[in-house]
Protein backbone atom coordinates (compact mmCIF):
# COMPACT_ATOMS: atom_id res chain seq x y z
CA UNK A 1 0.00 0.00 0.00
CA UNK A 2 1.41 3.39 -0.92
CA UNK A 3 2.17 5.91 1.82
CA UNK A 4 0.04 8.59 0.20
CA UNK A 5 -2.61 7.96 -2.41
CA UNK A 6 -4.25 10.96 -4.07
CA UNK A 7 -7.23 10.47 -6.40
CA UNK A 8 -8.93 13.06 -8.59
CA UNK A 9 -7.92 16.14 -6.63
CA UNK A 10 -9.60 19.30 -7.87
CA UNK A 11 -8.90 22.66 -6.24
CA UNK A 12 -10.29 25.90 -7.57
CA UNK A 13 -10.26 29.53 -6.54
CA UNK A 14 -13.53 31.42 -6.74
CA UNK A 15 -12.69 35.05 -7.41
CA UNK A 16 -14.57 38.02 -8.76
CA UNK A 17 -13.01 37.53 -12.16
CA UNK A 18 -14.04 33.90 -12.40
CA UNK A 19 -13.31 30.40 -11.20
CA UNK A 20 -9.65 29.41 -11.53
CA UNK A 21 -9.16 25.66 -11.80
CA UNK A 22 -5.69 25.58 -10.26
CA UNK A 23 -5.67 21.80 -9.85
CA UNK A 24 -7.91 19.93 -12.23
CA UNK A 25 -8.18 16.21 -11.59
CA UNK A 26 -4.79 15.07 -10.33
CA UNK A 27 -4.12 11.52 -9.13
CA UNK A 28 -0.82 10.15 -7.88
CA UNK A 29 0.73 8.09 -5.13
CA UNK A 30 3.93 8.19 -3.13
CA UNK A 31 5.63 5.02 -1.88
CA UNK A 32 7.44 4.74 1.42
CA UNK A 33 10.94 6.17 1.24
CA UNK A 34 10.80 7.33 -2.39
CA UNK A 35 11.39 10.79 -3.83
CA UNK A 36 8.73 12.06 -6.18
CA UNK A 37 9.44 15.21 -8.16
CA UNK A 38 6.67 17.50 -9.33
CA UNK A 39 7.83 19.91 -12.04
CA UNK A 40 6.00 22.59 -13.93
CA UNK A 41 6.14 26.28 -14.72
CA UNK A 42 4.52 29.01 -12.64
CA UNK A 43 0.78 28.57 -12.48
CA UNK A 44 0.86 24.88 -13.39
CA UNK A 45 -0.67 23.90 -10.05
CA UNK A 46 2.28 22.09 -8.51
CA UNK A 47 2.29 24.08 -5.28
CA UNK A 48 -1.51 24.21 -4.92
CA UNK A 49 -1.58 20.40 -5.17
CA UNK A 50 0.57 20.10 -2.07
CA UNK A 51 -1.05 23.02 -0.26
CA UNK A 52 -4.39 21.22 -0.70
CA UNK A 53 -3.01 18.08 0.95
CA UNK A 54 -1.65 20.09 3.85
CA UNK A 55 -4.86 22.10 4.32
CA UNK A 56 -3.02 25.30 3.52
CA UNK A 57 -5.37 26.53 0.79
CA UNK A 58 -7.23 29.56 2.13
CA UNK A 59 -10.95 28.83 1.99
CA UNK A 60 -12.50 31.06 0.66
CA UNK A 61 -11.49 31.90 -2.05
CA UNK A 62 -10.09 28.38 -2.47
CA UNK A 63 -12.33 25.36 -2.59
CA UNK A 64 -11.42 21.69 -2.77
CA UNK A 65 -14.06 20.51 -5.21
CA UNK A 66 -13.35 16.80 -5.13
CA UNK A 67 -10.73 14.24 -4.35
CA UNK A 68 -9.37 11.80 -1.85
CA UNK A 69 -5.91 11.71 -0.28
CA UNK A 70 -5.37 8.59 1.77
CA UNK A 71 -2.48 8.71 4.20
CA UNK A 72 -2.27 5.76 6.59
CA UNK A 73 -6.01 5.11 6.23
CA UNK A 74 -7.03 8.71 6.87
CA UNK A 75 -8.45 10.84 4.05
CA UNK A 76 -6.60 14.15 4.47
CA UNK A 77 -9.20 16.03 2.44
CA UNK A 78 -12.29 14.78 4.30
CA UNK A 79 -11.22 14.09 7.87
CA UNK A 80 -11.98 15.89 11.11
CA UNK A 81 -9.76 18.85 12.00
CA UNK A 82 -8.41 16.87 14.97
CA UNK A 83 -7.35 13.97 12.74
CA UNK A 84 -5.70 16.36 10.30
CA UNK A 85 -3.82 18.12 13.09
CA UNK A 86 -2.47 14.82 14.38
CA UNK A 87 -0.88 14.15 10.99
CA UNK A 88 0.19 17.59 9.78
CA UNK A 89 3.47 18.77 11.21
CA UNK A 90 4.11 15.34 12.71
CA UNK A 91 3.83 12.60 10.10
CA UNK A 92 3.83 14.98 7.12
CA UNK A 93 6.04 18.05 7.26
CA UNK A 94 6.66 20.79 4.77
CA UNK A 95 9.47 23.19 3.91
CA UNK A 96 9.00 26.29 1.82
CA UNK A 97 10.81 28.29 -0.81
CA UNK A 98 11.74 31.38 1.07
CA UNK A 99 13.56 30.84 4.35
CA UNK A 100 13.60 34.61 4.85
CA UNK A 101 9.84 34.87 5.23
CA UNK A 102 8.83 31.50 6.59
CA UNK A 103 10.58 31.83 9.93
CA UNK A 104 9.08 34.09 12.60
CA UNK A 105 11.50 37.01 13.07
CA UNK A 106 10.32 37.61 16.67
CA UNK A 107 11.05 34.13 18.00
CA UNK A 108 14.37 32.50 18.78
CA UNK A 109 15.33 29.72 16.33
CA UNK A 110 15.12 27.21 19.19
CA UNK A 111 11.53 28.14 20.10
CA UNK A 112 10.51 27.59 16.49
CA UNK A 113 12.27 24.26 16.15
CA UNK A 114 10.80 22.72 19.31
CA UNK A 115 7.26 23.90 18.56
CA UNK A 116 6.15 20.82 16.58
CA UNK A 117 7.65 18.52 19.24
CA UNK A 118 5.94 20.28 22.13
CA UNK A 119 2.60 20.22 20.31
CA UNK A 120 2.70 16.62 19.12
CA UNK A 121 4.57 14.80 21.85
CA UNK A 122 4.58 14.60 25.61
CA UNK A 123 7.98 16.00 26.20
CA UNK A 124 9.51 18.44 28.61
CA UNK A 125 10.88 21.71 27.28
CA UNK A 126 14.40 20.78 28.33
CA UNK A 127 14.29 17.47 26.47
CA UNK A 128 12.79 19.19 23.43
CA UNK A 129 15.61 21.74 23.54
CA UNK A 130 18.18 18.92 23.66
CA UNK A 131 16.59 17.26 20.64
CA UNK A 132 16.53 20.57 18.80
CA UNK A 133 20.27 20.97 19.41
CA UNK A 134 20.90 17.46 18.08
CA UNK A 135 18.75 18.15 15.03
CA UNK A 136 20.51 21.45 14.33
CA UNK A 137 23.81 19.62 14.45
CA UNK A 138 22.42 16.95 12.09
CA UNK A 139 21.60 19.63 9.51
CA UNK A 140 25.16 20.88 9.69
CA UNK A 141 25.04 23.94 11.93
CA UNK A 142 28.04 24.36 14.23
CA UNK A 143 27.71 25.35 17.87
CA UNK A 144 23.99 24.37 18.01
CA UNK A 145 23.47 25.23 21.69
CA UNK A 146 24.35 28.85 21.02
CA UNK A 147 22.61 29.01 17.66
CA UNK A 148 19.30 27.92 19.22
CA UNK A 149 19.20 31.12 21.24
CA UNK A 150 19.68 33.35 18.20
CA UNK A 151 17.06 35.02 16.02
CA UNK A 152 16.49 34.35 12.29
CA UNK A 153 18.16 37.61 11.22
CA UNK A 154 21.42 36.36 12.69
CA UNK A 155 21.39 33.41 10.26
CA UNK A 156 22.45 33.47 6.59
CA UNK A 157 20.04 32.30 3.88
CA UNK A 158 21.51 28.80 3.71
CA UNK A 159 21.50 28.46 7.50
CA UNK A 160 17.86 29.56 7.69
CA UNK A 161 16.94 26.88 5.18
CA UNK A 162 18.86 24.38 7.34
CA UNK A 163 16.95 25.58 10.40
CA UNK A 164 13.65 25.13 8.52
CA UNK A 165 14.67 21.59 7.59
CA UNK A 166 15.54 20.90 11.24
CA UNK A 167 12.10 22.19 12.27
CA UNK A 168 10.34 20.02 9.68
CA UNK A 169 12.27 16.87 10.54
CA UNK A 170 12.31 17.06 14.33
CA UNK A 171 9.15 14.94 14.60
CA UNK A 172 10.70 12.37 12.23
CA UNK A 173 7.95 12.61 9.60
CA UNK A 174 7.20 9.81 7.14
CA UNK A 175 6.66 12.32 4.33
CA UNK A 176 8.42 15.61 3.67
CA UNK A 177 6.94 18.03 1.15
CA UNK A 178 9.59 20.42 -0.15
CA UNK A 179 8.24 23.36 -2.14
CA UNK A 180 11.14 24.83 -4.16
CA UNK A 181 13.43 24.75 -1.11
CA UNK A 182 16.55 25.80 -3.02
CA UNK A 183 15.16 28.32 -5.51
CA UNK A 184 16.11 31.35 -3.38
CA UNK A 185 19.65 30.07 -2.69
CA UNK A 186 22.95 30.39 -4.52
CA UNK A 187 24.16 27.35 -6.46
CA UNK A 188 26.94 26.44 -4.04
CA UNK A 189 24.48 26.61 -1.13
CA UNK A 190 21.84 24.78 -3.19
CA UNK A 191 24.30 21.93 -3.65
CA UNK A 192 24.78 21.75 0.15
CA UNK A 193 21.03 21.70 0.84
CA UNK A 194 20.30 19.04 -1.80
CA UNK A 195 23.05 16.84 -0.36
CA UNK A 196 21.61 17.37 3.12
CA UNK A 197 18.08 16.40 2.08
CA UNK A 198 19.41 13.26 0.37
CA UNK A 199 21.47 12.26 3.41
CA UNK A 200 18.68 12.83 5.94
CA UNK A 201 16.19 11.02 3.74
CA UNK A 202 18.42 7.94 3.69
CA UNK A 203 18.96 8.05 7.45
CA UNK A 204 15.33 8.63 8.38
CA UNK A 205 13.83 6.55 5.54
CA UNK A 206 11.23 9.16 4.76
CA UNK A 207 9.46 9.85 1.48
CA UNK A 208 9.92 13.25 -0.16
CA UNK A 209 7.71 15.17 -2.58
CA UNK A 210 9.99 17.69 -4.23
CA UNK A 211 8.32 20.57 -6.05
CA UNK A 212 10.49 22.56 -8.43
CA UNK A 213 10.62 24.29 -11.79
CA UNK A 214 14.26 23.27 -12.23
CA UNK A 215 14.52 20.07 -14.25
CA UNK A 216 18.19 19.70 -13.37
CA UNK A 217 17.48 19.54 -9.63
CA UNK A 218 14.87 16.87 -10.27
CA UNK A 219 17.26 14.78 -12.30
CA UNK A 220 19.71 14.66 -9.40
CA UNK A 221 17.33 14.00 -6.57
CA UNK A 222 14.19 12.17 -7.61
CA UNK A 223 13.28 8.54 -8.29
CA UNK A 224 10.16 9.44 -10.24
CA UNK A 225 8.98 12.69 -11.77
CA UNK A 226 5.59 13.97 -12.76
CA UNK A 227 5.13 16.98 -15.02
CA UNK A 228 2.20 19.36 -14.55
CA UNK A 229 0.71 21.72 -17.09
CA UNK A 230 -2.39 23.88 -16.69
CA UNK A 231 -3.47 22.18 -13.45
CA UNK A 232 -3.20 18.66 -14.86
CA UNK A 233 -0.61 15.92 -14.91
CA UNK A 234 0.75 15.43 -18.40
CA UNK A 235 3.51 12.87 -17.84
CA UNK A 236 4.91 10.62 -15.14
CA UNK A 237 8.02 8.48 -15.43
CA UNK A 238 11.11 7.21 -13.64
CA UNK A 239 13.54 10.16 -13.69
CA UNK A 240 16.00 8.65 -16.12
CA UNK A 241 13.30 7.72 -18.59
CA UNK A 242 11.77 11.18 -18.46
CA UNK A 243 15.07 12.71 -19.52
CA UNK A 244 16.11 10.13 -22.08
CA UNK A 245 12.71 9.36 -23.61
CA UNK A 246 10.04 11.94 -22.79
CA UNK A 247 6.65 10.88 -24.10
CA UNK A 248 4.62 14.08 -23.99
CA UNK A 249 4.99 16.95 -26.47
CA UNK A 250 5.15 19.48 -23.60
CA UNK A 251 8.02 17.71 -21.84
CA UNK A 252 9.82 17.32 -25.16
CA UNK A 253 9.37 21.02 -25.95
CA UNK A 254 10.66 22.00 -22.48
CA UNK A 255 13.80 19.96 -22.97
CA UNK A 256 14.48 21.58 -26.32
CA UNK A 257 14.24 25.02 -24.74
CA UNK A 258 16.86 24.42 -22.02
CA UNK A 259 20.30 25.89 -22.86
CA UNK A 260 22.17 23.20 -20.89
CA UNK A 261 20.90 20.46 -23.21
CA UNK A 262 21.57 22.30 -26.47
CA UNK A 263 24.71 23.17 -28.37
CA UNK A 264 26.17 26.54 -27.50
CA UNK A 265 24.79 29.39 -29.52
CA UNK A 266 22.05 27.44 -31.31
CA UNK A 267 18.63 29.02 -31.42
CA UNK A 268 16.59 27.51 -28.61
CA UNK A 269 13.21 25.99 -29.31
CA UNK A 270 10.42 28.20 -28.03
CA UNK A 271 6.92 27.03 -27.25
CA UNK A 272 4.52 29.26 -29.19
CA UNK A 273 1.65 31.00 -27.42
CA UNK A 274 0.84 31.53 -23.77
CA UNK A 275 0.10 29.20 -20.85
CA UNK A 276 -3.62 28.44 -20.59
CA UNK A 277 -6.04 30.79 -18.86
CA UNK A 278 -7.23 28.67 -15.96
CA UNK A 279 -10.40 30.70 -15.53
CA UNK A 280 -11.82 29.24 -18.72
CA UNK A 281 -12.97 25.65 -18.69
CA UNK A 282 -11.12 23.91 -21.47
CA UNK A 283 -12.20 20.74 -23.20
CA UNK A 284 -9.54 18.35 -24.39
CA UNK A 285 -5.82 18.69 -23.81
CA UNK A 286 -4.64 21.90 -22.10
CA UNK A 287 -1.46 21.96 -24.20
CA UNK A 288 -3.25 21.49 -27.56
CA UNK A 289 -3.26 25.20 -28.57
CA UNK A 290 0.56 25.31 -28.31
CA UNK A 291 1.36 21.79 -29.45
CA UNK A 292 2.98 21.14 -32.81
CA UNK A 293 1.40 17.69 -33.02
CA UNK A 294 -2.15 18.72 -32.07
CA UNK A 295 -5.04 17.51 -34.16
CA UNK A 296 -8.61 18.78 -34.09
CA UNK A 297 -9.50 15.77 -31.97
CA UNK A 298 -7.02 16.85 -29.24
CA UNK A 299 -9.28 19.79 -28.43
CA UNK A 300 -12.31 17.63 -27.76
CA UNK A 301 -11.01 14.21 -26.69
CA UNK A 302 -11.19 13.13 -23.09
CA UNK A 303 -7.66 13.33 -21.67
CA UNK A 304 -6.38 10.83 -19.14
CA UNK A 305 -2.94 9.90 -17.93
CA UNK A 306 -2.42 6.38 -19.30
CA UNK A 307 0.56 4.01 -19.30
CA UNK A 308 2.68 4.07 -22.46
CA UNK A 309 5.57 1.96 -21.19
CA UNK A 310 6.66 0.27 -18.00
CA UNK A 311 6.11 2.78 -15.18
CA UNK A 312 5.76 5.56 -17.73
CA UNK A 313 2.45 7.37 -18.25
CA UNK A 314 1.55 10.14 -20.68
CA UNK A 315 -1.60 12.19 -21.09
CA UNK A 316 -1.12 12.72 -24.82
CA UNK A 317 -3.80 10.90 -26.83
CA UNK A 318 -1.56 10.74 -29.88
CA UNK A 319 1.29 9.18 -27.91
CA UNK A 320 -1.16 6.72 -26.38
CA UNK A 321 -2.39 5.80 -29.86
CA UNK A 322 1.22 5.23 -30.94
CA UNK A 323 1.07 8.06 -33.51
CA UNK A 324 4.01 10.07 -32.13
CA UNK A 325 7.24 8.42 -31.14
CA UNK A 326 9.88 10.22 -29.12
CA UNK A 327 12.88 11.56 -30.98
Amino acid sequence: MPLLDVTDLRTSFHTRSGIYRAVDGVSFSVEQGETLGIVGESGSGKSVTCYSLMGLVPQPPGRIESGRALFGGVDLLNCSPAEARAIRGKRIAMIFQDPMTSLNPYLRIGEQIIEPLVIHEKISRDDAWQQAAAMLEAVGINDPAHRLTQYPHEFSGGMRQRAMIAMALITRPELLIADEPTTALDVTVQAQILDLIKKLQREMKMAVIFITHDLAVVSELCDRVQVMYGGRLVERAPTRRLFTAPRHPYTQALQRSIPALQHKGTTLYTIPGQPPDLSRAQAGCAFAPRCEFALESCRTAEINLAPVADGHASACVRVQAGEILHE
Binding site: A191, D195, V217, S219, A260
Partner: protein, 325 residues
Protein backbone atom coordinates in the same frame (compact mmCIF):
# COMPACT_ATOMS: atom_id res chain seq x y z
CA UNK B 1 40.36 41.42 -32.19
CA UNK B 2 37.88 44.06 -33.18
CA UNK B 3 37.65 47.53 -31.69
CA UNK B 4 37.34 47.85 -27.91
CA UNK B 5 34.09 49.46 -26.80
CA UNK B 6 34.36 49.45 -23.02
CA UNK B 7 37.43 49.18 -20.84
CA UNK B 8 37.56 48.97 -17.07
CA UNK B 9 40.84 49.61 -15.26
CA UNK B 10 40.99 48.63 -11.59
CA UNK B 11 37.46 49.81 -10.91
CA UNK B 12 36.41 49.86 -7.26
CA UNK B 13 33.08 50.74 -5.71
CA UNK B 14 33.02 51.04 -1.95
CA UNK B 15 30.06 51.95 0.22
CA UNK B 16 30.29 53.41 3.70
CA UNK B 17 27.73 51.95 6.03
CA UNK B 18 26.92 52.89 9.60
CA UNK B 19 26.21 50.14 12.02
CA UNK B 20 26.04 49.54 15.72
CA UNK B 21 24.09 51.41 18.37
CA UNK B 22 21.76 54.35 18.08
CA UNK B 23 24.28 56.91 19.26
CA UNK B 24 27.62 55.23 18.95
CA UNK B 25 27.43 54.02 15.40
CA UNK B 26 30.59 52.78 13.79
CA UNK B 27 31.38 53.34 10.16
CA UNK B 28 32.63 50.49 8.05
CA UNK B 29 33.38 50.10 4.38
CA UNK B 30 31.74 47.52 2.12
CA UNK B 31 34.04 46.72 -0.77
CA UNK B 32 31.32 45.72 -3.22
CA UNK B 33 33.60 45.98 -6.26
CA UNK B 34 37.29 45.88 -5.51
CA UNK B 35 39.67 46.29 -8.42
CA UNK B 36 38.00 44.96 -11.57
CA UNK B 37 39.67 45.24 -14.98
CA UNK B 38 37.79 44.07 -18.04
CA UNK B 39 37.31 44.95 -21.67
CA UNK B 40 34.42 44.39 -24.05
CA UNK B 41 34.87 44.57 -27.81
CA UNK B 42 32.25 45.74 -30.27
CA UNK B 43 29.79 42.94 -31.01
CA UNK B 44 31.06 40.78 -28.16
CA UNK B 45 28.99 39.09 -25.45
CA UNK B 46 30.69 38.91 -22.05
CA UNK B 47 28.99 36.82 -19.38
CA UNK B 48 29.46 37.63 -15.71
CA UNK B 49 28.71 34.97 -13.10
CA UNK B 50 28.92 34.87 -9.34
CA UNK B 51 26.80 34.30 -6.26
CA UNK B 52 24.60 36.91 -4.63
CA UNK B 53 26.64 39.62 -2.98
CA UNK B 54 29.70 39.12 -5.18
CA UNK B 55 29.32 42.61 -6.62
CA UNK B 56 28.20 41.81 -10.16
CA UNK B 57 25.14 44.07 -10.04
CA UNK B 58 27.10 46.88 -8.37
CA UNK B 59 29.66 46.61 -11.15
CA UNK B 60 26.86 46.99 -13.73
CA UNK B 61 25.53 50.05 -11.93
CA UNK B 62 29.00 51.52 -11.66
CA UNK B 63 29.58 51.16 -15.40
CA UNK B 64 26.23 52.87 -16.02
CA UNK B 65 27.30 55.68 -13.64
CA UNK B 66 24.28 54.96 -11.44
CA UNK B 67 26.67 54.72 -8.49
CA UNK B 68 29.98 56.55 -8.50
CA UNK B 69 33.19 54.55 -8.80
CA UNK B 70 35.50 54.95 -5.80
CA UNK B 71 38.61 54.34 -7.86
CA UNK B 72 39.69 53.26 -11.30
CA UNK B 73 38.81 54.26 -14.83
CA UNK B 74 35.78 53.37 -16.93
CA UNK B 75 36.56 54.11 -20.57
CA UNK B 76 33.60 53.94 -22.95
CA UNK B 77 34.23 54.75 -26.62
CA UNK B 78 37.52 56.36 -25.68
CA UNK B 79 36.12 58.64 -22.97
CA UNK B 80 36.79 58.16 -19.26
CA UNK B 81 33.36 58.37 -17.64
CA UNK B 82 34.72 58.76 -14.10
CA UNK B 83 36.22 62.12 -15.12
CA UNK B 84 33.39 63.20 -17.43
CA UNK B 85 30.98 66.09 -16.87
CA UNK B 86 27.26 65.45 -16.35
CA UNK B 87 26.53 66.37 -19.96
CA UNK B 88 29.18 63.96 -21.21
CA UNK B 89 27.77 61.18 -19.04
CA UNK B 90 24.30 61.84 -20.42
CA UNK B 91 25.66 61.62 -23.94
CA UNK B 92 27.45 58.37 -23.09
CA UNK B 93 24.22 56.89 -21.75
CA UNK B 94 22.79 56.99 -25.26
CA UNK B 95 25.44 54.46 -26.10
CA UNK B 96 24.84 52.11 -23.17
CA UNK B 97 21.54 50.94 -21.79
CA UNK B 98 20.46 48.52 -19.11
CA UNK B 99 17.90 45.72 -18.80
CA UNK B 100 16.98 44.75 -15.25
CA UNK B 101 16.07 41.45 -13.64
CA UNK B 102 12.51 42.05 -12.56
CA UNK B 103 10.22 43.10 -15.41
CA UNK B 104 7.49 43.62 -12.82
CA UNK B 105 9.45 46.32 -11.00
CA UNK B 106 11.37 47.98 -13.81
CA UNK B 107 8.39 49.26 -15.80
CA UNK B 108 6.29 52.13 -14.49
CA UNK B 109 2.79 50.69 -13.88
CA UNK B 110 1.15 54.06 -14.62
CA UNK B 111 2.74 54.56 -18.02
CA UNK B 112 1.42 52.97 -21.20
CA UNK B 113 3.90 51.07 -23.31
CA UNK B 114 3.91 53.97 -25.75
CA UNK B 115 4.82 56.45 -23.00
CA UNK B 116 7.54 54.13 -21.66
CA UNK B 117 9.17 53.72 -25.05
CA UNK B 118 8.75 57.33 -26.16
CA UNK B 119 10.36 58.75 -23.02
CA UNK B 120 14.01 58.02 -23.87
CA UNK B 121 13.43 59.33 -27.41
CA UNK B 122 12.11 62.62 -26.00
CA UNK B 123 14.70 62.98 -23.22
CA UNK B 124 17.56 62.59 -25.66
CA UNK B 125 15.77 64.46 -28.49
CA UNK B 126 16.48 61.63 -30.88
CA UNK B 127 13.90 62.58 -33.44
CA UNK B 128 11.14 65.07 -34.20
CA UNK B 129 8.02 64.51 -32.14
CA UNK B 130 6.00 63.58 -35.25
CA UNK B 131 8.42 60.74 -35.90
CA UNK B 132 8.13 59.26 -32.38
CA UNK B 133 5.04 57.04 -32.93
CA UNK B 134 6.55 55.36 -35.96
CA UNK B 135 9.83 54.70 -34.14
CA UNK B 136 8.04 53.28 -31.12
CA UNK B 137 6.01 50.97 -33.33
CA UNK B 138 9.21 49.79 -35.01
CA UNK B 139 10.83 49.12 -31.63
CA UNK B 140 7.92 46.94 -30.56
CA UNK B 141 8.14 44.98 -33.78
CA UNK B 142 11.86 44.50 -33.24
CA UNK B 143 11.22 42.65 -29.96
CA UNK B 144 8.32 40.63 -31.34
CA UNK B 145 5.34 42.53 -29.95
CA UNK B 146 2.50 44.01 -31.95
CA UNK B 147 1.82 47.75 -32.29
CA UNK B 148 -1.73 46.95 -31.18
CA UNK B 149 -0.25 46.70 -27.68
CA UNK B 150 0.94 50.32 -27.65
CA UNK B 151 -1.74 51.74 -25.42
CA UNK B 152 -1.79 48.94 -22.88
CA UNK B 153 -0.30 49.13 -19.38
CA UNK B 154 2.41 46.80 -18.02
CA UNK B 155 -0.06 44.78 -15.90
CA UNK B 156 -1.73 43.56 -19.07
CA UNK B 157 1.41 41.70 -20.11
CA UNK B 158 3.03 38.46 -18.98
CA UNK B 159 6.54 38.41 -17.49
CA UNK B 160 8.16 37.44 -20.79
CA UNK B 161 6.34 40.19 -22.68
CA UNK B 162 7.33 42.76 -20.06
CA UNK B 163 10.96 41.75 -20.43
CA UNK B 164 10.57 42.29 -24.19
CA UNK B 165 9.26 45.78 -23.46
CA UNK B 166 12.24 46.47 -21.19
CA UNK B 167 14.56 45.33 -23.99
CA UNK B 168 12.72 47.58 -26.49
CA UNK B 169 13.21 50.50 -24.09
CA UNK B 170 16.93 49.75 -23.90
CA UNK B 171 17.13 49.63 -27.70
CA UNK B 172 15.25 52.90 -28.20
CA UNK B 173 18.44 54.99 -28.27
CA UNK B 174 20.27 52.56 -30.54
CA UNK B 175 23.02 51.88 -28.02
CA UNK B 176 26.28 50.07 -28.74
CA UNK B 177 26.32 48.32 -25.36
CA UNK B 178 23.53 46.65 -23.41
CA UNK B 179 24.06 45.64 -19.81
CA UNK B 180 21.56 42.96 -18.87
CA UNK B 181 21.41 42.26 -15.13
CA UNK B 182 19.88 38.78 -14.66
CA UNK B 183 17.38 39.34 -17.48
CA UNK B 184 16.01 35.80 -17.48
CA UNK B 185 16.27 34.77 -13.81
CA UNK B 186 12.66 35.68 -13.02
CA UNK B 187 11.24 33.85 -16.03
CA UNK B 188 10.00 30.30 -16.61
CA UNK B 189 12.14 27.96 -18.72
CA UNK B 190 10.06 28.22 -21.90
CA UNK B 191 9.93 32.03 -21.67
CA UNK B 192 13.63 32.18 -20.82
CA UNK B 193 14.39 30.52 -24.16
CA UNK B 194 12.42 33.21 -26.02
CA UNK B 195 14.31 36.06 -24.35
CA UNK B 196 17.72 34.39 -24.86
CA UNK B 197 16.95 33.89 -28.56
CA UNK B 198 15.84 37.51 -28.84
CA UNK B 199 19.00 38.87 -27.19
CA UNK B 200 21.24 36.64 -29.31
CA UNK B 201 19.57 37.72 -32.55
CA UNK B 202 19.70 41.43 -31.61
CA UNK B 203 23.42 41.15 -30.83
CA UNK B 204 24.00 39.52 -34.21
CA UNK B 205 21.85 41.83 -36.29
CA UNK B 206 22.72 45.14 -34.69
CA UNK B 207 26.37 44.32 -33.86
CA UNK B 208 25.64 45.10 -30.20
CA UNK B 209 27.95 44.39 -27.31
CA UNK B 210 26.31 42.72 -24.35
CA UNK B 211 27.39 42.41 -20.74
CA UNK B 212 25.23 39.54 -19.55
CA UNK B 213 25.04 39.09 -15.79
CA UNK B 214 23.52 35.91 -14.39
CA UNK B 215 24.01 33.26 -11.77
CA UNK B 216 22.91 30.46 -14.09
CA UNK B 217 26.07 29.15 -15.73
CA UNK B 218 24.34 27.13 -18.44
CA UNK B 219 22.54 30.26 -19.63
CA UNK B 220 25.76 32.29 -19.55
CA UNK B 221 27.67 29.62 -21.43
CA UNK B 222 24.98 29.48 -24.09
CA UNK B 223 25.02 33.16 -24.96
CA UNK B 224 28.53 34.43 -24.11
CA UNK B 225 31.78 34.65 -26.06
CA UNK B 226 33.83 35.23 -22.92
CA UNK B 227 32.97 34.67 -19.25
CA UNK B 228 34.15 36.38 -16.06
CA UNK B 229 33.69 34.71 -12.68
CA UNK B 230 33.38 37.10 -9.74
CA UNK B 231 33.90 36.39 -6.06
CA UNK B 232 33.63 39.04 -3.37
CA UNK B 233 34.19 42.06 -5.57
CA UNK B 234 37.01 40.63 -7.67
CA UNK B 235 37.23 38.76 -10.94
CA UNK B 236 38.81 35.40 -10.11
CA UNK B 237 38.73 33.95 -13.61
CA UNK B 238 38.22 35.28 -17.11
CA UNK B 239 38.39 33.65 -20.51
CA UNK B 240 36.53 32.16 -23.47
CA UNK B 241 33.17 30.73 -22.36
CA UNK B 242 33.85 27.15 -23.38
CA UNK B 243 37.28 27.02 -21.76
CA UNK B 244 36.23 28.58 -18.46
CA UNK B 245 33.28 26.23 -18.13
CA UNK B 246 34.94 23.05 -19.45
CA UNK B 247 38.38 23.61 -17.90
CA UNK B 248 38.07 26.09 -15.04
CA UNK B 249 41.44 26.98 -13.49
CA UNK B 250 40.40 28.70 -10.26
CA UNK B 251 39.16 26.49 -7.39
CA UNK B 252 36.10 28.72 -6.97
CA UNK B 253 35.12 28.40 -10.64
CA UNK B 254 35.65 24.65 -10.32
CA UNK B 255 33.34 24.45 -7.30
CA UNK B 256 30.74 26.76 -8.83
CA UNK B 257 30.61 24.69 -12.00
CA UNK B 258 30.46 21.38 -10.17
CA UNK B 259 27.62 22.70 -7.98
CA UNK B 260 25.26 23.06 -10.94
CA UNK B 261 22.85 20.14 -10.95
CA UNK B 262 23.25 18.09 -14.13
CA UNK B 263 20.34 17.15 -16.32
CA UNK B 264 21.86 13.82 -17.15
CA UNK B 265 21.24 11.42 -14.27
CA UNK B 266 23.50 8.85 -15.90
CA UNK B 267 26.49 11.17 -15.75
CA UNK B 268 28.29 10.27 -12.57
CA UNK B 269 30.36 13.16 -11.30
CA UNK B 270 32.33 13.89 -8.22
CA UNK B 271 30.98 17.03 -6.74
CA UNK B 272 33.02 19.61 -4.91
CA UNK B 273 30.61 20.86 -2.27
CA UNK B 274 31.90 24.06 -0.72
CA UNK B 275 31.46 24.43 2.99
CA UNK B 276 29.92 27.55 4.43
CA UNK B 277 28.38 30.63 2.89
CA UNK B 278 30.03 33.34 0.84
CA UNK B 279 31.67 35.75 3.32
CA UNK B 280 30.51 39.31 3.80
CA UNK B 281 32.22 42.01 1.70
CA UNK B 282 32.24 44.10 4.88
CA UNK B 283 34.99 41.99 6.40
CA UNK B 284 36.62 40.18 3.51
CA UNK B 285 39.10 37.48 4.52
CA UNK B 286 42.77 38.43 4.26
CA UNK B 287 44.86 37.41 1.27
CA UNK B 288 42.82 35.45 -1.24
CA UNK B 289 39.18 36.10 -0.27
CA UNK B 290 38.28 32.53 -1.17
CA UNK B 291 40.78 30.80 1.14
CA UNK B 292 38.37 29.98 4.04
CA UNK B 293 36.22 27.87 1.67
CA UNK B 294 38.95 26.65 -0.64
CA UNK B 295 39.81 22.93 -0.60
CA UNK B 296 43.38 23.68 -1.76
CA UNK B 297 44.18 26.60 0.57
CA UNK B 298 47.64 26.79 2.17
CA UNK B 299 49.18 29.15 4.68
CA UNK B 300 50.43 31.49 1.94
CA UNK B 301 46.84 31.98 0.65
CA UNK B 302 46.02 33.84 3.85
CA UNK B 303 48.66 36.47 3.08
CA UNK B 304 49.07 36.84 -0.66
CA UNK B 305 46.33 38.54 -2.66
CA UNK B 306 46.59 36.78 -6.01
CA UNK B 307 46.38 38.68 -9.29
CA UNK B 308 44.91 37.42 -12.55
CA UNK B 309 47.61 35.30 -14.17
CA UNK B 310 47.33 33.82 -17.67
CA UNK B 311 46.70 30.07 -17.95
CA UNK B 312 46.47 30.16 -21.74
CA UNK B 313 46.83 33.26 -23.93
CA UNK B 314 43.07 33.86 -23.61
CA UNK B 315 42.25 32.55 -20.14
CA UNK B 316 43.41 33.94 -16.80
CA UNK B 317 42.74 33.11 -13.16
CA UNK B 318 43.69 34.65 -9.81
CA UNK B 319 45.15 31.88 -7.68
CA UNK B 320 48.68 31.46 -6.32
CA UNK B 321 48.56 27.68 -6.72
CA UNK B 322 47.38 27.79 -10.33
CA UNK B 323 48.18 24.61 -12.20
CA UNK B 324 49.03 22.64 -9.05
CA UNK B 325 45.68 20.82 -8.94
Amino acid sequence: MSETLLELHDVATHFTVESGGLWRGTKSVVRAVDGVSLSIARGEVVGMVGESGCGKSTLARTIMQLVPATAGRIVFQGRDLTQATAAEVKAARRGMQMVFQDPFASLNPRMTIFATLAEPLRVHRVCASEAVPARVARLLELVGLSSRDLHKYPHEFSGGQRQRIAIARALALEPQLIIADEPVSALDVSIQAQILNLLASLVREMNLSLLFIAHDLSVVKHISDRVAVMYLGKIVEFGPANEVIERPGHPYSQALISAIPTLDPAKARTRLVLAGDPPSPRQPPSGCAFHPRCPHAQAQCREITPRLTPITPAQAAACVRLGEF
